[in-house]
């Protein structure tokens, strides 16, 4: 079974909404009065990680692939997000 077209369209809509949210946070500083700049930066990295997760697992079909590929992709995403997030925030 592969990812259904309906699910792909739903994920695409979510990814576009997350992109607009990132723009509001990063450019319009929509949450700067509520959260610290560190928290906003961490949120931007987290949103990006979730976006990459869905592109990889559903568009790339990693979700339905062999376990080693799912683990490798997940490990790559975790290592990349944590490293970039640490360099940005800490």
């Amino acid at each position: 079974m592969t990812t259904s077209p309906t699910r792909l369209v739903t994920i695409w809509a979510g990814l576009v909404a997350a992109t607009v949210l990132s723009w509001l946070l990063g450019v319009e500083h929509a949450a700067d009065d509520v959260f610290s700049r560190e928290a906003v930066a961490a949120l931007l990295v987290a949103i990006t990680a979730v976006k990459v997760w869905y592109v990889g697992l559903d568009f790339m079909e990693v979700r339905e692939s062999a376990p080693w590929l799912r683990w490798l992709f997940t490990a790559w995403l975790a290592a990349t997000s944590l490293t970039l997030g640490t360099l940005l925030v800490v």
Partner: protein, 195 residues
């Protein structure tokens, strides 16, 4: 987990060869290292990087993110259709992906021209050296992915046999280019220095 596709598609373990995946993940890792290097430079010189980022056109950057995500949707639908034997509709989806790549490239060209008109070049400062180098290398990746999509779409449209690995490889390369851009967009366009 072993999966079976629809129709006469063969049982498979992973899309494309494992070695190809290592190549793709290696390329994505290379970019991740570049982004890490960018952020280390940003920590060392937050004033230059903060000023550089304020000179970027974030609206074009956001629009290009949506363009690539839309490309990923139509490419995923196209790969699925071609693998299901629906070559006509599949090739149309893949050509829509080529169209997204064209739009991305056009918007990127507008962005570069805006910078050059403002007297900003790769030699301006460290921020713009990274900006031009990373977005330029990414653009080359977009063009390579576009070539693969075009090749598969044309063969499918003409009713020629399209090898399953070719179709899947074209899709995987496109999505990898999308993933690299998502990271680039967050690191270079959005997340400024905290200092």
């Amino acid at each position: 987990m072993t999966l079976t596709g629809r129709g006469d598609t063969p049982t498979r373990e992973v899309p494309v060869e494992p070695g190809f995946w290592l190549l793709v993940l290696g390329d994505m890792t290379m970019f991740a290292v570049f982004f890490g290097s960018f952020l280390i430079e940003q920590r060392n010189d937050p004033a230059v990087f903060g000023a550089g980022r304020s000179d970027l056109n974030q609206l074009i950057g956001t629009a290009n993110t949506v363009v690539l995500l839309t490309g990923s949707l139509v490419v995923a639908l196209g790969v699925k259709a071609v693998l299901d034997g629906r070559h006509e509709i599949g090739s149309r989806y893949l050509l829509a992906g080529v169209g997204c790549a064209g739009l991305f490239t056009a918007l990127k060209a507008v962005e570069y021209l805006q910078k050059l008109d403002a007297g900003i070049t790769p030699a301006t400062d460290t921020f713009f050296t990274y900006y031009f180098a990373l977005t330029g290398i990414h653009l080359v990746h977009v063009l390579i992915a576009t070539g693969l999509l075009w090749h598969v779409a044309q063969r499918a449209r003409r009713g020629h046999a399209v090898g399953r690995p070719w179709v899947q490889a074209a899709g995987v390369v496109w999505h990898a280019v999308d993933i690299i851009w998502l990271l680039l967009f967050a690191v270079i366009y959005l997340a400024g220095p905290l200092a």
